[in-house]
Symmetry: C2
Subunit: 121 residues, 2 copies
DNA sequence: TTATTAGCTTACTTTTGGTAAGTAAAGGTA
DNA sequence: TACCTTTACTTACCAAAAGTAAGCTAATAA
């Protein structure tokens, strides 16, 4: 009863779940990785850089990342509008962990693919 | 053109995306964390431990984790059946990275919640 | 008049997750 | 004999979430 499994099993109120869900989606980590390399990027730059994302999903992704304080949005009062996105400190502190997952995924990709193929047979 | 953004932007063929998608779902990390603590667990133990998962989703989750070689399924020829799940070496090698994300989520949870609230206003 | 930028809106499709029921096999109970 | 239990699932169906494509907006410059 008093063990530490409890902290995972209450899915609804779990802080971890609550946070990880936000960048466990299809695009968020991609945006974070790109901003880590590019310092600042504009909306259309990101849109061109991420092959296959729609404008709507990019807008939604940027908005939730901003709401969570992981990226900073700077808007310039110009016409046509100019908006720049960059990592916040909080976002930068998350990035090493994502990079580690990326490294893990890269080193284990081939073996996992093999497992998947042989699992089907 | 020869920069290293390319390795992220081709979403369809991206090995990272391909791998991370598999445990970026609703339940997989939860199962991995539980197996890390418990060494071995049976189907119904997991079902009881994870508040809110359906039998179907647990079965699907365990199957894909097994297909990727992250967990090992051992079946005993008894009636009623007994099936035990445990982490594989590959699964164990992934776990520290997940734990790091969990730690990050826990330390940043309060601040992120605040950001979310003030973002709405 | 058209292009530009950073979106928003609408309608639609796809993917994911959830519910409820059923199945198998052997043994125990009435 | 009929039926109830347990375990580890599978199946059929349904709802919700995520994603897509296309069109709309603003103000200005070419």
């Amino acid at each position: 009863m008093g063990n530490n499994l409890e902290k995972y099993t209450d899915v609804v109120n779990c802080p971890v779940r609550n946070v990880l869900d936000r960048f466990g989606d299809k695009w968020s980590t991609l945006v974070l990785l790109l901003l880590d390399e590019a310092a600042v990027m504009r909306f259309n730059e990101l849109h061109k850089a991420i092959n296959g994302i729609s404008q709507k999903m990019l807008a939604v992704t940027l908005k939730t990342l901003e709401a969570d304080g992981l990226i900073i949005r700077t808007q310039y009062p110009e016409i046509p509008p100019r908006v720049e996105y960059k990592l916040s400190e909080r976002g930068s502190s998350l990035l090493p962990h994502i990079q580690n997952l990326v490294k893990w995924a890269n080193t284990n990709f081939d073996a996992i693919e093999e497992s998947r193929v042989s699992y089907k047979r």
